[in-house]
Subunit: 204 residues, 2 copies
C-alpha cells in the first residue's frame, strides 16, 4: 500500500490560502483536510470539528505529553496544534492530507515528516496584500499594520518551503496547487524507484 | 530575466514518449523541442532540421572538440548528440526546452545541468510493452527481444530520474507531463527564494 502524501499550505493573512484550501478540497477527491485543535474559546459561528477541535487546556497538555501532535504552538496563551492520530491514519490508508497552518508550524512538520511538501501562498505584491486587508473593512489600522509586518517576516522564511504559488486569480492558484499535488505523485524517491525496478523485473 | 527550464524525456522504445512529446509541444506554447544531430544516413522521409540535423563525421567531431554538445554518444559507429548553442539561447531567453533522448544521454545532461528535470516514461507493464512492440508489426522477433532487454536495463536506471509517468492513456500521460512542467515552475530553489524575499522586502 502506497502511503498518502502530506501537503502543508501556509501564507500571510489576506493571501486567500483558506479559500484555496476549500476549493482544492471540493475539487480533489481523496485529499483530506486536517482540523487543528485549540484551547481558545470558540468565536460566534465556529463549529467544533469543522473549524477547530476545541479542547480544554489539560486535555491539550496531556496530548502534548503523549507526543500526540505533529506540530503545536502557544500563541498569546492559547494552544493550537495538529493532532497526529487522524493524519497518520489517513496517510497509512494512502490518502493525501492537507494542513493549513502557519510558517512556524510548517517548519515543525517538515522536521518531523521530511517527505511532507510545503506550499507557500504569496500575494501578487505587498501593495495588493495591503489593499486586500484594508478592503476587508474588518480590521483596524493597527491590526493591518501588524498583519503586514507578519507577512514580511513570514515571507522571509519562504526558503523552508518547496513551492510558492502567487494568488492573483483564484482559479489559477487552485490549478497550481492541483498541478503540484499531481506532480508530487509522480516524483521519484529512492524507495519508489527501487519499487519500480523490482516490479518491472519480476514481470520479465 | 528568469531562465527557462530544461526538461528531458526518456523511456524504452514502445512507451510512446515521442507521441507524448509532440502532444506536449502542440499544447504547451512556450516550450521548445531540441533537435538532435546525427552522423547516420537519413532514412526515407526524414527531414533535416525536423527529425535530426544530419551532419558529416568531421563536423560532428569538431563540435565535440569545441564542447558544443550537451550530451552525445557513439551508437554502433554513428554519433548522436544535442547541440548546446540553440538550447542555451532558448533557456537564456526564458523558454523551456524539451529533450527526447536516451537514458545515457539524460544522465550526461543531469551531470552538466544539475537543474534539469528528468522524466521517465514507463509502460503500464512489461507485458503491455511487449504487446505494443509486437503489435506494431514492423519488427522481427529478435529485434523485439533486443528492445525488451533494453527496456529492462533502461528501467534499471530510473533512480537517476526525477519523475516517472506511466503511459497507459495518452491524454492522461500528456496531462501528467504538463502538471510536472507547471509544478516545476513553482518549485523553490535557494535562488528563487532569495529573489522572492528581496522583491517583497523592497516593496514594503
Amino acid at each position: 500500500m502506497v502511503k498518502g502524501k502530506l501537503f502543508v499550505l501556509s501564507g500571510p493573512s489576506g493571501t486567500g490560502k483558506g479559500t484555496i484550501c476549500r476549493e482544492v478540497l471540493s475539487r480533489n477527491n481523496g485529499i483530506r483536510l486536517s482540523i487543528s485543535m485549540t484551547t481558545r474559546t470558540p468565536r460566534e459561528g465556529e463549529i467544533h470539528g469543522e473549524h477547530y477541535f476545541f479542547a480544554e487546556r489539560e486535555e491539550f497538555i496531556s496530548l502534548i505529553n503523549e507526543d500526540g501532535f505533529i506540530e503545536y504552538a502557544d500563541v498569546y496563551g492559547n494552544f493550537y496544534g495538529t493532532p497526529k492520530k487522524q493524519v497518520e491514519e489517513w496517510l497509512d490508508r494512502g490518502q493525501d492530507v492537507l494542513l493549513e497552518i502557519d510558517v512556524q508550524g510548517a517548519i515543525q512538520v517538515k522536521k518531523n515528516y521530511p517527505d511532507s511538501i510545503l506550499l507557500f501562498v504569496l500575494p501578487p505584491s505587498i501593495e495588493v496584500l495591503r489593499e486586500r486587508l484594508t478592503g476587508r473593512g474588518t480590521d483596524a489600522a493597527d491590526v493591518i499594520e501588524r498583519r503586514m509586518a507578519s507577512a514580511t517576516s513570514e515571507i522571509g522564511l519562504i526558503g523552508e518551503y518547496d513551492y510558492s504559488i502567487v494568488n492573483d486569480v483564484l482559479a489559477e492558484a487552485v490549478e497550481s496547487v492541483e498541478a503540484i499535488i499531481k506532480g508530487e505523485h509522480m516524483r521519484l524517491t529512492r524507495e519508489t524507484s527501487e519499487a519500480i525496478v523490482r516490479r518491472y523485473k519480476q514481470e520479465v
